[in-house]
């Protein structure tokens, strides 16, 4: 465990910026290379409750995925029957409020960020907006490269206003 150095913060900011660019440009095969084989990508289910801690009922989720599931999603997106995303949504994501909170050891840092995802599907006149907070575990390897080890996505919405989560957040 160590203090968060400017070099660490720089590496993480660059990583998140690059990741956003890859996702918005549909470069999912490149994106998946940023993930650790042991990735956990999860979206806990959120409800309206008075206390923050009651908003996330234990064990309930919209997504709870390992690498095999993410790879299958990519495979599905590569078929000619991916009707949810045919063509792929045009997305622009803003990743901000980046806060490298803690060195968790083993080169892994706990990183908070806010995500504002603009999504326009197919020929929609309207757009959809998916706002979320993310809590990432990012590992900085000896080579200086980063890998996403875990991502927890906290959606602002309890009732999702976009019809599906066919885009990665």
């Amino acid at each position: 465990m160590s203090a968060i150095t400017p070099a660490v913060e720089y590496a993480i900011r660059q990583f998140l910026g690059r990741e956003a660019m890859l996702l918005d440009n549909g470069r999912l095969d490149d994106w998946v290379n940023l993930l650790d084989e042991g990735i956990l990508y999860e979206i806990p289910l959120r409800i309206s409750a008075r206390k923050q801690e009651d908003q996330f009922p234990k064990g309930a989720f919209r997504m709870h995925e390992d690498m095999a599931m993410i790879r299958k999603r990519l495979e599905r997106m590569g078929t000619s029957e991916n009707w949810a995303e045919d063509p792929a949504s045009r997305t622009v994501r803003t990743v901000g409020s980046i806060f490298v909170e803690e060195d968790e050891g083993g080169g892994i840092f706990r990183v908070h960020s806010a995500l504002s995802l603009y999504r326009q599907r197919a020929l929609d006149r309207a757009y959809e907006w998916i706002p979320a907070r993310r809590i990432d575990r990012i590992r900085i390897e000896a080579s200086g490269e980063c890998r996403l080890v875990r991502r927890t996505i906290i959606l602002a919405e309890t009732i999702l206003q976009t019809p599906n989560l066919a885009v990665f957040l």
């Binding site: 409800i47 064990g59 095999a68 599905r76 029957e81 009732i159 019809p163 989560l165």
Partner: protein, 455 residues
């Protein structure tokens, strides 16, 4: 958020009664006029004639296990509070203060013995009783509490742990309303005395499709699976889509309910019976709880989807909790919540058997969510293809040409589907597929409810 959902009013010469009359004549030919999918008058009539009259599903008793627990749910577009009072009785209350209408409950769940209105402070017990107001003796000395309690659903009943309510004082008993559907629900949920309960609150997402489309699709649309969900077979996470219809039975139950059975053994081999549940799950089942005919259905032709009128559906299928792992059977409970003409919220619960250990439950949950949830690899595609009907319904051109959608599949002269004359269970059994008898029956029942009070 920009979500321009155009709501079409009746066009010229298109009064509600005209649309219903036309629906009547078209339905006899297996056609459904496009007009009923995004029309504001139709929608308003549905709220009054269907949702305020039917028995509507509200959730599970296990979601409010303790005294004082409550959950906010919907009957049609109305927000209701489902409470468990100090005597363990369950009540369904309108979620607004009788004084000036302020919302009493702003959260999805909670636990409290009473609801205090944030506007002027009227207080209601969690059984709906009016119990007080600030300065009562000076302000409301003569107010009769009996007249000012929260609106309370006149009928609330539970079946297999599910809570239903009807706002119609003259409603039949729940069992009479469900009729043959109750028999099939037993086959689904009563294989073990402790039954099933949801693993968490519903996953909720807004879909720009009509609630009827969800109900009708899950009532028996085996035909779309190979196309709309073709990708899932292509990536080898499911199988049998190409032969699905050859082994299907449409169980059509009076009252607008329907179930779509499949001959699992013929489709998936000798281990297919009882929904392909693996031995470690099946060993807990006691099929003797069911009558012999229902046992036979569960073994040979169990329903994988079904709909209880108006807007409750389920799905039971199998898939891996993660690719490469052995398949788990999942049971998804879903409700098509109407929010406006041609738009709904999809609410989806994953259920578990009470006897499941943690691993079995989490495998079932993961497999179910991977397929059917806001991110589900099956469900995603439905949320998009269902956007079409309301869009078509908003088309002036479609209405000008009197366009009707086709539900003629399997009708006389169209296909091979036959009424099984030897069927001794409730309703009718039509087999094999492909066919759409369930869809036609759903809209027939919808029409009968819509037309009943229209004169």
């Amino acid at each position: 958020m920009v979500m321009h959902i155009a709501q079409s009013r009746s066009g010229i010469g298109e009064r509600l009664d005209d649309i219903l009359a036309r629906t009547r004549s078209e339905l006899d030919r297996g056609l459904v006029p496009v007009n009923i999918f995004a029309n504001a008058d139709i929608f308003d009539a549905e709220m009054e004639r269907i949702f305020a009259k039917s028995w509507v599903f509200l959730g599970f008793e296990s979601e409010i296990p303790d005294k004082g627990d409550f959950m906010q749910r919907r009957i049609g577009r109305d927000s209701v509070i489902v409470t468990r009072d100090t005597k363990n009785d369950i009540h369904v209350l309108a979620n607004f203060c009788r004084h000036r209408g302020t919302r009493l409950c702003q959260t999805d769940v909670g636990n409290q013995s009473h609801f205090r209105c944030p506007y002027h402070g009227w207080v209601f017990r969690n059984n709906g009783d009016w119990i007080g107001a600030p300065d009562k003796s000076k302000a409301y000395k003569a107010l009769d509490p009996k007249n000012w309690g929260l609106l309370k659903a006149p009928h609330v009943e539970s079946f297999l742990g599910m809570i239903f309510a009807s706002l119609d004082p003259d409603a039949p008993a729940l069992m009479d309303y469900l009729g043959g559907a109750a028999w099939f629900m037993r086959g689904l949920m009563d294989l073990h005395p402790a039954g099933m309960s949801p693993m968490g609150p519903p996953d909720r997402y807004k879909v720009r499709g009509d609630w009827k489309t969800g109900s009708e699709n899950f009532g028996g649309d085996g035909y779309h699976v190979g196309v709309a969900h073709g990708s899932v077979q292509t990536i080898e996470l499911a199988q049998g889509f190409d032969v699905l219809n050859n082994f299907s039975t449409h169980y059509v139950i009076p009252g607008g309910h329907s179930f779509l059975g499949h001959d699992f053994d013929s489709m998936f081999g000798p281990d297919g019976h009882v929904w392909y549940y693996p031995p470690d799950i099946q060993q807990h089942f006691d099929l003797d709880r069911l009558d012999p005919l229902l046992q036979d259905v569960v073994k040979k032709n169990p329903p994988i989807v079904g709909t209880v009128f108006p807007n409750l559906s389920f799905l039971r299928f199998f898939g891996p909790p993660s690719p490469g792992k052995p398949p788990a059977v999942y049971t998804s409970w879903r409700q098509w919540q109407p929010t406006g003409p041609g738009e709904m919220e999809l609410w989806s619960w994953q259920l578990k058997w009470d006897f499941m250990d943690e691993q079995q439950a989490s495998d079932s949950y993961a497999a179910g969510q991977f397929g059917f949830s806001s991110a589900g690899i099956f469900e995603q595609d439905d949320t998009v293809v269902w956007e079409g009907a309301p869009e078509a319904a908003r088309s002036v051109w479609a209405r000008k040409e009197n366009i009707a959608f086709n539900m003629q599949m399997g009708m006389e002269g169209m296909g091979q589907q036959k009424l099984d004359e030897s069927w001794e269970g409730p309703g009718e059994a039509w087999r094999p597929g492909p066919g759409e008898p369930s869809q036609r029956a759903f809209y027939q029942h919808w029409l009968s409810q819509m037309a009943e009070t229209s004169q």
